[in-house]
């Protein structure tokens, strides 16, 4: 594997995640390359979302969640006691499984994140730019003052992406962003991701193997340990290699659909 000429944004070391006393993810090490798309695949419940949420400390919002190990972001451990999760999240944005626009106007949806993060520039410009980057501008430019809830599911999700990139994060986390969308809307988001990756580092959780193969540069395969039901990173590498010549038998079973 050839990682050495990349530039790494995240470096996870010996990560363990717990919900109460249940260990959901164990002993995971992983590095994420900058301006690339990394996909997390694996069966449901194996801890993909949990790992993803450690990247911007969204796990903090779940009262029972606890994390040990290090999540280094440019060398700084995000779980250091003196790190401010609010600061983390403005640099590392997130798009959720179900489109969740605010029940406000389209414009406000995009502007709000920028405003609370102290954006002082031309807001109209920023909103337009963000919507353009999210490939939504042409569809909504005439109805910016209408509610974001009036859009179709795919449009809503692109609105959420526009909203996420408005504060100009460095990384965008996406947790199964297309699972609630139809195939055409899904395709649009996938194209969009290929555009966005020129400027952003993207990590996406998906259970759609096709999607992982199509859009991602790197792929990480997670699996649940049979004994303690804890999630575990099985194999990680360049997407092409994972899908054509996986090293681990379990990975091969999964991607060839023989998983059971």
């Amino acid at each position: 594997m050839n990682y050495t000429n990349g530039k790494y944004v995240f470096d996870i070391q010996n990560l363990n995640c717990y919900y109460g006393s249940f260990r959901a993810v164990k002993d995971t090490d992983l590095s994420i390359e900058s301006k690339k798309i990394t996909a997390f695949i694996g069966p449901s419940g194996c801890g993909k979302s949990t790992v993803l949420r450690t990247f911007n400390r969204m796990n903090d919002l779940i009262p029972s969640a606890r994390v040990t190990g290090e999540v280094l972001f440019h060398g700084q451990n995000l779980y250091d006691p003196d790190v401010d999760p609010v600061e983390v999240r403005r640099r590392i944005g997130m798009v959720f499984q179900k489109p969740n626009p605010f029940p406000k106007s389209i414009y406000e949806n995009v502007a709000w994140g920028a405003r609370i993060n102290g954006f002082k520039g031309n807001m109209d410009e920023l909103v337009e730019q963000s919507l353009r980057q999210a490939a939504l501008w042409d569809e909504v430019k005439d109805k910016l003052d209408q509610s974001g809830l009036g859009l179709s599911g795919g449009q809503q999700q692109r609105l959420c992406i526009a909203r996420t990139i408005a504060p100009r994060p460095e990384v965008i986390l996406m947790d199964e962003p297309c699972s609630a969308l139809d195939p055409i809307a899904t395709l649009k988001i996938e194209d969009l991701m290929r555009q966005l990756v020129k400027n952003y580092t993207i990590i996406i959780v998906t259970h759609n193997m096709q999607q992982a193969a199509r859009v991602s540069d790197y792929t990480a395969y997670f699996l649940m340990d049979r004994d303690d039901r804890a999630g575990l990173l099985i194999e990680y590498g360049v997407t092409n290699e994972i899908f054509t010549k996986p090293k681990d038998q379990r990975t091969e079973d999964y991607i060839t659909g023989r998983f059971g």
């Binding site: 050495t4 996870i12 090490d29 992983l30 590095s31 440019h74 060398g75 600061e87």
Partner: protein, 317 residues
């Protein structure tokens, strides 16, 4: 993982200086959280206040030397003027009013609940629910007026003026029953509603009629929820004040005749404190002893009811 070992150094050197994620001092946030916590803590202060106030004044009452605790909880005569403080004179009428109220509210409330949940059409519900809500929203002083100017004359026209006194516990009790009826019916209906539909289907599938399903399957399944409603209703009736203050009569009297006037605990508190009483007199202290008793009774009932409800929820959720 072998993967990251080779990259770790790169990650570390890749500029930790990028931009700092250090904790900001968010004074506003901390201040707001502290304020919100204070808002929640006010309720604790309220409870402590109630316990302290009732406890302290009651203590003064019992240490005044005019009455012993035993006299208080066993006596049947309440005559402060001659130093008689027997709670049964008041407690008895409270219990009597409550019993009469429950005779009205429990069967009626439960029947209404069964009708609403098992029989009523959507249209009937849409009329009945607001009627019950209005009944529940009428201030108790209005019910007091109703008891005195309607229920009492009504009872007198049935049983005769010689038998039914102008102030009596029967009229007050019946009207309290009407007052708590919406409470009983809505809580019971919620309980009946929570019984899974599958249970009804099972009963129908065995050839049960609607009545048999409602009475022999749904109602038993909702026992705990209905019981909780009954207990809350009892607690409400015990604590109800204005109806008895207006219609049950002034002056404690230990009687089991519902057509005679008899002052209840709450009625007594209102009458004594409504007058010009001087603080630190034995009369003043005595109402706190009554209040403490009232508080303990209603609190106990409410706690029991909530445990019963919890039991019910665990059964079906």
């Amino acid at each position: 993982m072998t993967v990251s070992a080779s990259t770790r150094t790169i990650a570390k050197t890749a500029a930790a200086a990028k931009s700092d994620l250090h904790k900001r001092l968010r004074l506003g946030e901390s201040f707001i959280e502290a304020f919100l916590f204070f808002c929640g803590a006010v309720s604790i202060l309220t409870t402590l206040g109630i316990v302290f106030v009732l406890g302290k004044e009651s203590l003064l009452f019992f240490t005044s030397g005019e009455v012993t605790l035993w006299e208080f909880i066993s006596g049947t005569e309440w005559q402060p003027a001659i130093g008689r403080f027997g709670i049964w004179a008041l407690l008895n009428s409270t219990l009597m009013v409550t019993a009469i109220a429950m005779l009205v509210a429990l069967p009626l409330g439960l029947a209404v609940a069964i009708y609403l949940s098992e029989y009523a059409s959507l249209r009937a519900r849409s009329i009945l629910k607001p009627v019950l809500e209005v009944l529940a929203g009428v201030p108790t002083v209005v019910y007091g007026y109703f008891a005195l100017t309607f229920m009492t004359p009504f009872l007198r026209s049935i049983f005769g003026d010689e038998i039914v006194q102008i102030y009596n516990t029967a009229a007050a009790g019946i009207v309290i029953g009407i007052l708590v009826l919406p409470l009983v019916s809505s809580m019971s209906e919620d309980a009946l509603h929570a019984v899974p539909y599958a249970l009804r289907e099972a009963a129908y599938g065995l050839g049960a009629t609607k009545l048999e399903t409602a009475i022999k399957v749904v109602l038993p399944a909702a026992t705990y929820g209905v019981a909780a409603a009954f207990i809350v209703a009892i607690s409400r009736a015990i604590g109800e004040t204005m109806i008895v203050a207006i219609a049950a009569g002034a002056g404690p009297s230990f009687t089991f005749n519902p057509f005679e006037s008899a002052e209840t605990m709450t009625g007594h508190i209102v009458r004594i404190s409504g007058g010009d009483l001087s603080y630190d007199s034995i009369d003043y202290n005595s109402i706190f002893a009554i209040g403490l008793m009232l508080f303990v009774m209603t609190l106990t009932l409410n706690i029991i009811s909530r445990h019963v409800v919890k039991h019910f929820r665990e059964e079906y959720e």
